[in-house]
Symmetry: C2
Subunit: 442 residues, 2 copies
C-alpha cells in the first residue's frame, strides 16, 4: 500500500487506455486528491478518462471504500438496534426524509441521516429543516451520536471530517463535465452513506423528466451499481426505482414542504407522497428486522401514524436539535410569505384532465421566487414556494386552482406564475398513470 511508488500520470494513462485500476492505485487517487499528491489538474484528467472508459464493479467498490476512508468513519455499533438510512437521488417536492426518519424511528429503527443542501432546481433536506426556527443541522459527531441514542434518529449535515475526498471530487466534477458518470455518482453517494456507520441502506433511485436520470434503464444501472457496492462493503442495500414525472406531493419550497411533512405524520398526506414514503420506510423496517415483511411493516407504520408516535419522534427531534416544536401545531411560526397568488386554469384548452406537471419547470419557479440556490453560496428564502399543486390525472376546467404560490416579491411571483403555467398541460381524455413505485433491486 506504499503510495510513494505511484505517479498520477501513470494511473491516468492506464485508465485512458481502458485498463482497470488496482485497489492501491485507486487508494492513492482518493487519498491524493485530499493530501495534494494527486493535483487537481491530474484528478480532472483522470475523472474524464473514467467518464470515457468507465469502471468495473470492483473498481467502483474500491473507489467507494477509498473515498469513505479519506476521512472519519462513524462507528455506531455501540448503539442498540439496527442503523438504517435512506438516500434519494432527489426530485422536486421530495420531502420523504422528513416523514420517513421519524416514522422509521417510531417503529424501532435507528436512523443516522446525513443530508445535503439544495442546488439548482432540487431542494435540500437541510434547507427544509432550517425553515423551523432554531433548528440546528450542523452538529458534531458526539452530539449526533447522543441524539441518536436518545431519540433514535437525527438529521444533520455532513461534517467536514466525513469523506473529504467526495467534497473535493464533487467540486471538480461539477465544473469539468464529469458529473453524469455512474461509477462516480455511485462512489460519491455510497462513500458518504457508508461513512455514517449504517448497517443497511434503502435507496430511492428516481427516473423520468423530473429526475437526474431521465431514462429508467440508467436509473436501473445506477441502482444495480450501488447495490453491488453495498454488497462489497458487507452492507445490505436495497434500491427502489421510483417514477419522477411530476413533483412529489402538492408542495415545493421549504416552509410549504415542512407543513406538508407534518400533515403526513398527522395522517393527512397526499397519496403519491405517502405511497413512496411507505415503500421506502417499509424496506427500512424489513432490512432492519423491525418487520418480517412489507405487510407487517405497513401495519406498524399505520399504527405509528395513527397513535401519534411518528409525530412524537418529529417533536423529539426538533427539541433535540434546537428547533421550535410548536411548529407542529402552529404553522404560522414558520417563515411566511407576504402574499399568496392563486394560479387558476384559464383559456380555451383548460378543460379535461391534467396530463403533465413538469417538475423541472416547477423547480425553476421555486428558483424564480428566491427559494433555490444557483450557487452554493446563495441564501434561500424559506418562506416562498408552491402549495396546493394539482396532480396529473386530476380533472380541470377554467377556474380550477392549479397551485397557490407563496410570494415575497411581485415581479418574482409573476415570473414564477409563468413557469408554473408552462409546467401544467391539459388533455381531453384522462391520461393513463404510470406506477409511481416500481422495481426493487436487492
Amino acid at each position: 500500500m506504499s503510495s510513494g511508488t505511484y505517479f498520477p500520470q501513470n494511473i491516468i494513462i492506464k485508465k485512458r487506455d481502458g485498463g482497470a485500476l488496482t485497489q492501491d492505485e485507486i487508494g492513492f487517487f482518493a487519498r491524493g486528491v485530499v493530501n495534494g499528491q494527486f493535483a487537481d489538474y491530474q484528478a480532472t484528467a483522470l475523472l474524464m478518462a473514467i467518464f470515457w472508459r468507465g469502471m468495473t464493479p470492483q473498481e467502483t467498490a474500491w473507489l467507494t471504500d477509498a473515498m469513505m476512508r479519506s476521512g472519519d468513519v462513524i462507528d455506531l455499533r455501540d448503539l442498540p438496534g439496527a442503523k438504517v438510512d435512506k438516500h434519494s437521488t432527489g426530485g422536486v417536492g421530495d420531502k420523504v426524509s422528513l416523514i420517513l426518519a421519524p416514522l422509521a424511528a417510531a417503529c424501532g429503527i435507528t436512523v443516522p441521516m446525513m443530508s445535503g443542501r439544495g442546488l439548482g432546481h432540487t431542494g435540500g433536506t437541510l434547507d427544509k429543516l432550517e425553515a423551523i426556527p432554531g433548528f440546528r443541522v450542523m452538529l458534531d459527531v458526539p452530539e449526533f451520536r447522543a441524539i441518536l441514542q436518545k431519540v433514535g434518529m437525527a438529521m444533520i449535515g455532513q461534517t467536514p471530517q466525513v469523506v473529504p475526498a467526495d467534497r473535493k471530487l464533487y467540486s471538480l466534477r461539477d465544473v469539468t463535465g464529469t458529473v453524469e458518470c455512474i461509477p462516480l455518482i455511485c462512489a460519491s453517494i455510497m462513500s458518504k452513506k457508508l461513512a455514517e456507520g449504517i448497517d443497511s441502506l434503502v435507496l430511492d433511485v428516481k427516473f423520468g423528466q423530473g429526475a437526474f436520470m431521465k431514462k429508467k434503464e440508467d436509473a436501473l444501472t445506477l441502482a444495480r451499481a450501488m447495490v453491488a457496492v453495498g454488497q462489497a462493503a458487507g452492507k445490505p442495500v436495497w434500491a427502489q426505482l421510483t417514477a419522477m414525472n411530476q413533483p412529489l406531493g402538492r408542495c415545493a419550497g421549504h416552509t410549504t414542504e415542512v407543513i406538508e411533512s407534518i400533515e403526513c405524520l398527522k395522517g393527512r398526506g397526499p397519496d403519491d407522497l405517502m405511497e413512496v414514503t411507505f415503500a421506502l420506510t417499509g424496506h427500512m423496517l424489513v432490512l432492519g428486522g423491525a418487520a418480517k415483511d412489507m405487510a407487517e411493516a405497513r401495519t406498524k407504520m399505520d399504527t405509528a401514524i395513527a397513535n401519534g408516535r411518528a409525530l412524537q419522534k418529529f417533536h423529539e427531534m426538533c427539541v433535540a436539535q434546537g428547533g421550535d416544536p410548536r411548529v407542529i401545531e402552529d404553522y404560522s411560526i414558520l417563515p411566511t410569505a407576504n402574499k399568496k397568488i392563486e394560479v387558476r386554469a384559464r383559456g380555451a384548452d383548460a378543460s379535461g384532465f391534467v396530463s403533465e406537471v413538469d417538475a423541472l419547470r416547477c423547480g425553476h419557479a421555486i428558483m424564480a421566487l428566491g427559494g433555490g440556490r444557483a450557487a452554493v453560496t446563495d441564501k434561500v428564502d424559506h418562506a416562498v414556494g408552491i402549495a396546493d399543486l394539482i396532480k396529473i390525472g386530476e380533472p380541470v376546467a377554467p377556474g380550477t386552482l392549479l397551485c397557490t404560490l407563496h410570494v415575497n416579491d411581485d415581479a418574482k411571483g409573476t415570473r414564477a406564475e409563468a413557469l408554473v403555467r408552462e409546467a401544467v398541460k391539459f388533455t381531453a381524455a384522462a391520461p393513463t398513470l404510470e406506477p409511481l413505485v416500481q422495481e426493487l433491486i436487492s
Copy 2:
C-alpha cells in the same frame, strides 16, 4: 468574439459528447489557459476529452491559430528574402539543424529558427549550441531580428512572450497522459513555428523504434495534419517522412554532435546524416524560391559546402550569438570529457553485420553519462557522449570498435557501456537497409 459568454464546463461537455468546437470556443480556451478564465483543472479535463474525441482539421487549425495569437507573433516581412524554417519531431543524434541552418542561409534563405531544450533521451538543439563557449541562445526579438538581417540565420530559444498557451498546455499535458494526441501535437508544433514569422516550413517527421511515432502510419497522419494547418494559415508546409531506427550520424551528446556538425559543413559528414540534411535543406531552398527543383538545390548545397560559404555562416552565427568561433578549427575549445572508453565487439556472436543500433538505448546511455535531462531543471554535462558509433549494415568481428564513449565518471561510463552493448545487435547475413528518406507530404 466576446469571451464573457463562454463557460469552460460547457465547452468541455460539448467535446466530451463528441461535438466540434467553434472558433470562438477554441479561442476562449487558448486565451483562457493563459489568463486564468480556463482553470488548469478544466483545461486538463478538456485535453482528455480531446484525446478521446479528437479534433477535426478545422478545429486543429483554429487551435493552432488561437495558440499562436496567445502571445507575440514575430513579423519578419521587412527582412529581405524568403523566411523558411525546419522542425523535426526529434531523434537521438539528430543534429541536422546545426548543419541545415547555415547551409540554407549560405544558399540565400533566411532561417529564423527557434528551438527547444532536450528532455528524456532526445537531445535539444539549444543544449548542443551551448556546448560552444559563450554561445547565447536566449536572445530577445530585436536582437534575433538584427542577427537575421545581418547573418541570414539565427538559432535561439523560444522567448517567454511567444505562444504562452503552448508552454502552459504542454506542461499540463506532460503530467496528465495527454501528450500522444495528434491534433494537440500538431497545434503545439505549428503554433510555435507560425509565430516565428516564417513564409514556409519544412517538417521532418520521424518514425521507427527511435522516434516518438513508432509506426509510419501515425507519422503520416501527423504529417498530413501539420501540412493542412499550414495550408489553413496560408503558409506552405512540406513534411518529409524519415525512418529513425538508429541514431542519426555517428555521434550523440553535445560536444560530440557539435564536432560532427562542423565536420559535415567541412564536407566530411557521414552519409545518413548528410542524406537527411540535404533532403530537408533542399526542400527549404525549393520552398523559398532559391532553387527551382531538388537537383538545382543539391548543386547549390554542394557548392556552398565546397567553397566554405556554409561553414562561414556557422562562423558568423557564432560571432553574432557570442560563441567562440575558434571551435571551428580547434575542437579542444569545446567541453572535453576526462576519459574515452572504446567499446569493442566481443563474444561468440560478434561477427557478421550490425543488424540493430537501438536509438532509445543509445539515448539512455547519454542519460547515464550525465548528458541528458530527466527533469527540465536538470543541468546537462556537455562533454560526455557517444562518438564513432557503428551503423546498421556495417561488418563486425571480435574487436571491431562499436563506439567511443566520452566519460567523466567511471561508474556512469560502465553503465553507459552496458546500455550501448544492449543497443547493438549482430546478424550473420547482411541486413536489408530501410530507405532513410521516404515520402514527402506537400
